[in-house]
Symmetry: C2
Subunit: 367 residues, 2 copies
């Protein structure tokens, strides 16, 4: 793919340009300085027009000839060098291995370049925001973190993988799903269903829900990792598919949905490439226990932590819509939260045969 | 598969036979009683001849007309009924959904059949050991919990999945890999490599290590879940493949290896179907840092917990071999543990290009 190749070249060039800054400064006998966007709450805001949480424009300088910054400057250059090595060899690696790769004792001293990973991880984040490159574009990966089935054909490392032909198990979603790594060759689905928990994904996969309702089903077994979110976003963007998010009826379920939709405060920089502002919340909603006849004794009493978290959510700018206030207040008023698993109280296939079909038919979701 | 079908019929029959006990007792106006093997340390032992941890023969009775046991007896029957429902409909489900499915308020009272999942989980384990059926054969699953690539073709739900053609991502290993669910149709590999951590699996998958060394590579991203262990065991047994286990050089790595090999004390009943007594430990060994020139500063100082755990391991019957005593004492003497990730200190592909090839060539493993 030409676009993915030119993007890779741009990322590589941006790493090289960091070295150029140092060389240029040395030639001019100046203090080498790089500018790094500020990664703190004060520089993060919700953009209601775009519907995402994004970073502001504040930057700070990191210079070499400054006692307080010299070590961090050196660390930044070491990590950038390791990242350039990955680009040149076309390899990916983990945060932890970058720490090990860049750790050594400085010649003629007993000082280590890094004492532990807490020092190298933030440097990688600094580089992400400075170079405006996703971690994945810098070839930094995490473990495989999710599973996919449905009518989509992808190309991964030269292999054409048809996700309708992987049994109940499915395709193990890699951490890096950028164009060039994973290409979406064909997708005939009508929508994407992003399922919080593996257990419901398994239920739906076993029942071949994706076949009857023509959808791609993804799960990240809990808070979906970046690879799962990015792949859902690419299916949304490249194949124009709506994304429905299925989570537990509790403050953590709401939060997972909101991270998929708006991005998160901690990783605000990435929202523009990972968030899915048009994602819909399809359940489990506070109104569902009554609507679907779930007995009160399969609800779980809200504890103080749940109540406090729900009250925090009520104040988030992206939950100000009337429907969302009603949704969250509904949970608080009932005093109960419900897991999707509780649908099994009706029968083991209630999710597949009753709950989701009715939800989709009635277009019963929140935006 | 005939064998898997007859096995399924046997499991189903054993569930029905529980109901028969109650009916028979009722007809004879006797107290319905079932016998349940004792699942405590006192009834678990290491069998050095078989090389596995296994359960003894002690059993206890659970009867209905006994104030202390009546509720548990009822719970056992409710769970057995739910499990029979799964067999009849040919569905699988989770521990949590069984809890929800069997929970209700007993008519004419305010008493719930189960108040929380801590009550239903042990009943399922009781049934496993009583009926001599693996949890998976009772159709109880967990989340997908691992990944596989390499020259093996499996059949999953009617789909033929060629694990050489799934890119870097690989096949997401389901929780239930029993015959009939997952069948190993063809495997031309020379060995199985079971890798503790996802990050090394990803390194090797990216480098197509499995192609050059003709192996099947599995990971469970940490302590391998039952599905991963069972699939490794089936590859070992059905395809006569040796299994090599690659873990960190720390007490937890040794322990993970030992669970793969001998089984665990908590789940002693399953060892005979899941353990791989001939599995070999291929590294990271205490002698490796010196042999492969890893600097001391990428080692991690052993803490008190590590030291105590290592001393416990030294006393386990299955670590009594001379080589194992030397291995564990070597780690204690150095005062350091090493992660596989630390190999990246040499270079990002050191694991693929130097470490593992030499290990395999020199047959440098522990039994």
């Amino acid at each position: 793919m030409a676009t993915s190749k030119s993007r890779q070249a741009a990322v590589k060039q941006s790493l090289v340009s960091l070295a150029d800054i140092v060389i240029e400064a040395a030639n001019k006998k100046k203090d080498p300085t790089i500018k790094i966007p500020v990664r703190s709450l004060s520089n993060v805001d919700f953009n209601p027009r775009k519907g995402i949480i994004e970073m502001g424009k504040k930057k700070q300088e990191r210079t070499f000839f400054n006692l307080g910054m010299a070590k961090k400057f050196m660390q930044t250059m070491l990590v950038a060098d390791a990242l350039a090595e990955l680009q040149n060899a076309n390899l990916t690696t983990s945060l932890r291995e970058i720490y090990y790769r860049t750790k050594h004792t400085i010649e003629g001293s007993h000082e280590n370049t890094f004492d532990n990973q807490n020092e190298s991880d933030p440097v990688i984040e600094d580089l992400e925001v400075s170079l405006e490159a996703l971690r994945e574009e810098l070839h930094v990966r995490a473990d495989n973190g999710g599973t996919m089935v449905g009518p989509v054909i992808i190309e991964d490392d030269g292999d054409r993988v048809d996700c309708t032909k992987l049994g109940k198990g499915g395709y193990s979603i890699p951490s890096i799903v950028e164009p060039g790594y994973v290409d979406i060759k064909k997708c005939t689905a009508d929508f994407v269903l992003l399922i919080e928990k593996g257990t419901q994904w398994n239920r739906l996969s076993e029942d071949k829900f994706w076949r009857k309702y023509n959808c791609v089903m993804l799960t990240g077994n809990g808070q979906p990792p970046r690879g799962v979110r990015r792949l859902a976003r690419r299916l949304h963007e490249e194949k124009k598919l709506p994304v429905y998010v299925l989570v537990d009826n509790d403050p953590w379920g709401y939060y997972i949905y909101s991270v998929v939709k708006q991005g998160s405060i901690n990783l605000a920089f990435e929202s523009q490439r990972i968030a899915i502002p048009k994602a819909k919340f399809v359940g489990l909603s506070s109104a569902d226990p009554a609507k679907y006849g779930l007995p009160r004794n399969v609800g779980i009493k809200l504890n103080d932590k749940d109540i406090n978290r729900a009250k925090e959510l009520l104040n988030y700018p992206w939950f100000q819509k009337k429907e969302w206030q009603k949704e969250i207040k509904g949970m608080l008023a009932s005093g109960l939260k419900f897991e999707l698993d509780a649908l099994a109280n009706k029968d083991f296939q209630y999710l597949t045969k009753q709950y989701l079909p009715r939800k989709l038919k009635e277009r019963d979701w929140l935006d």
